[in-house]
């Protein structure tokens, strides 16, 4: 599912501009298919086959095991059991992912806006700063949050001293820490597409808004935001989807009561309960696809004025 396909295109296509059919579509032959072949094979091998396998596994008889093998019995009760047992983790995953995505928008939109319009000659440096964390491993960066949020570290000490935290209050091993970790890890995936959208926005449009009786807030709502929508949608998807399936942040920054669906799936695979793990995975995938589909449809067609 591509985000771009559902967002209204803002300009005419090449064919609309020239009034001619795209020359490539007239050129019959095999070159197009040949070019599709490597990517197509890759997708077949590493996407279609695994997905089908996963779906099949989710319907295996849970009585089997890795050693004895599984029997395909169309055991749909796997889903009922999985949803019954893991509903809280499901809800928690979606809530954490939602909170992290909202936090990414709140932090990322002003940042992307500043880089696009206000950074001047610092623009490239700021972009590098957004990407720079990727030079360090995801795990190491998440582990370092254990230190930042640690009970005996400066941040907690400071928050205790100004009575934001109780004298025995803490941050690590809380839902807050998990959402903070998710937000931190996925923020660049929000900032970059937002920046790409805002960068293309002609600042004269904002002036035109002001010229046509729109206050700065109204101009933002009626001009800037709609034109940043493609970036916002892409950023939301790139943040929400991996957040919902993430288990590292909960593992390293959370506690047993912050476990997300990713943690359960990982444990079940580890314990050899493939059918249940697979049915959870398929359910998560389906839930995300439905949510994303609804979101993109709404973002694309909603009358924003």
């Amino acid at each position: 599912m591509s985000a771009a396909g559902h967002v209204p295109s803002l300009g005419p296509t090449e064919a609309q501009l020239t009034g001619r059919p795209d020359p490539a579509s007239r050129r019959s032959g095999w070159s197009g298919y040949l070019l599709l072949l490597p990517g197509g094979l890759w997708l077949l091998l590493f996407f279609v086959v695994p997905t089908v396998t996963l779906m099949a596994t989710s319907l295996y008889d849970p009585a089997g095991s890795l050693q004895t093998g599984y029997a395909m019995t169309g055991h749909w009760q796997n889903y009922v059991e999985a949803l019954g047992d893991y509903a809280p983790q499901f809800v928690r995953s979606l809530v954490y992912a939602l909170l992290a995505t909202v936090a990414c928008i709140v932090l990322g939109f002003p940042l992307a806006y500043a880089i696009a319009f206000k950074a001047g000659r610092w623009k490239n440096l700021m972009l590098v700063a957004v990407i720079a964390p990727f030079f360090t491993s995801f795990l190491v960066r998440t582990l370092s949050w254990q230190y930042i949020l640690g009970d005996n570290e400066a941040l907690v000490g400071f928050l205790r001293s100004i009575h934001v935290l109780a004298p025995d209050g803490y941050l690590l091993a809380t839902p807050f820490a998990v959402v903070t970790g998710l937000t931190y890890n996925f923020l660049p995936f929000m900032v970059l597409p937002l920046y790409a959208s805002l960068e293309k926005l002609d600042p004269r449009l904002i002036e035109a808004g002001a010229d046509l009786y729109a206050s700065p807030v109204t101009t933002f709502r009626t001009v800037t935001l709609p034109l940043a929508m493609p970036g916002l949608v892409a950023g939301t998807l790139l943040t929400f989807i991996p957040s919902a399936g993430d288990y590292i942040n909960s593992e390293l920054l959370g506690n047993p009561r912050t476990r997300m669906i990713g943690n359960e799936i990982q444990d079940l695979f580890g314990a050899g309960d493939y059918p249940t793990a697979a049915s959870l995975s398929v359910t998560l995938m389906a839930a995300i696809v439905v949510l994303v589909f609804v979101y993109v449809r709404r973002a694309g067609t909603e009358e924003l004025l």
Binding site: P8, P12, Q16, D202, D211, L212, Y213, A214, L227
Partner: protein
């Protein structure tokens, strides 16, 4: 509000650069006013200060009796047609046009929008997006989007710059028609002197942040106040001379050994060194030594160095004995003799077509322009 637009000693600096320098300007209500000048002369900055998009460093902007110098752009009864149109790409043509009215909380505006689209002949394209329109159509949407708000002042920032010549001519006539129809004050910024003269009642020629001269197009053309205006508005032949005396309405000027006369009303200086100027189309050519009528200015001993035939007229370059090339436009009426390169010629023109300018100015000021 309503009334004249008045700028009083307005200065705008960007860092060390002074874009607009102590500018005084009065635009009468209901007039079509053109700010004409080369790029970088401060005309667009002036416009932006009227729109509220830039704030003057010093000075005041009045609309009628109301001081709008520090008023936010969205609170001013002023609308702009931007150079690049700045149409909202995510909105349809109709929604673009309706934008201003909606922001002011107006309801039931469909009829008004339809009426405005009819005025600019875009009814059939109401549902299109700006990206699907041609340059001329986009320009008309931008105009409609500003006009529908019935602003006290409509600002046009080089609105025709992106159009090809034929379309530009058409839009010039269209704009003039609309202005007459709606009776609003138009302030039109352009670097195209022909456009300014065709459309505006009053033209202000700007250069380096200042107004060089302001007046009706005919007055600026026939009686330029500075060498910049003489060269930027049309073309001029400027010949160095010095005043030798006056008689009645005439000023006598010695020009490279010849005596020419100038009307006193067109003489910015009446003593000392001057630039004696005459427009190329006011000059006619004659064979060497041919007697001219009485009281005609004559510069003799030229050699035709270049002839270009441009249909309605023929443009001659004539090299004079003092090695200056003068330009002469002769109408192709068929009654006039044609000259060829190398021919000896004399130049004649009537004294009242001469203007005198202060010789301390650069004779080449404002020449860089090629007809666009």
């Amino acid at each position: 509000m309503g009334g004249d637009l008045t700028l009083t000693s307005v200065t705008k600096r960007f860092g060390a650069f002074t874009a607009v320098d102590d500018l005084d300007l009065r635009v009468p209500e209901g007039s079509f006013f053109a700010l004409l000048g080369p790029s970088g002369c401060g005309k667009t900055t002036t416009l932006r200060m009227v729109a509220g998009l830039d704030e003057p460093t010093t000075g005041t902007v009045l609309l009628g009796d109301t001081d709008i110098t520090r008023l936010k752009p969205y609170k001013r009864p002023v609308n702009t047609v931007f150079q690049s149109y700045a149409l909202f790409p995510h909105l349809t043509v109709a929604d673009n046009v309706a934008f201003g009215l909606k922001r002011r909380g107006r309801r039931k505006i469909d009829d008004e929008v339809a009426e405005m689209l009819a005025l600019v002949e875009l009814q059939q394209l109401a549902k299109r997006r700006p990206g699907q329109l041609s340059g001329g159509q986009q320009q008309r949407v931008a105009l409609a989007r500003a006009l529908i708000n019935q602003p006290e002042v409509l600002l046009l920032d080089e609105p025709l710059g992106a159009l090809d010549l034929k379309l530009r001519r058409q839009m010039q006539i269209e704009l003039k028609r609309i202005q007459t129809e709606v009776g609003l004050t138009f302030v039109h910024v352009t670097h195209d002197q022909e456009e300014a003269m065709t459309m505006a009642d009053t033209v202000a020629v700007m250069n380096e942040g200042r107004i060089e001269q302001l007046g009706p197009p005919e007055e600026l053309y026939e009686s330029p106040a500075t060498t910049f205006v003489a060269n930027f508005l049309g073309q001029s032949n400027l010949v160095a001379g010095s005043v030798t005396g006056t008689s009645g309405d005439l000023v006598h000027v010695e020009v490279h050994g010849a005596r020419v006369f100038a009307g006193r009303s067109r003489s910015r200086v009446t003593e000392g060194d001057v630039w004696a100027g005459v427009r190329p189309e006011k000059v006619y050519l004659a064979g060497p030594g041919e007697e001219a009528a009485d009281e005609v200015n004559s510069l003799r001993g030229g050699v035709v160095s270049d002839v270009s035939f441009v249909g309605v007229s023929t443009q001659y370059l004539v090299r004079m004995a003092w090695d200056q090339e003068l330009t002469v436009f002769e109408q192709n009426t068929g009654a006039r003799k044609r000259f060829r390169p190398g021919d000896q010629v004399d130049l004649h023109w009537r004294p009242e077509h001469t203007f005198l300018l202060d010789a301390t100015q650069d004779a080449a000021a404002g020449v860089e322009r090629e007809p666009v």
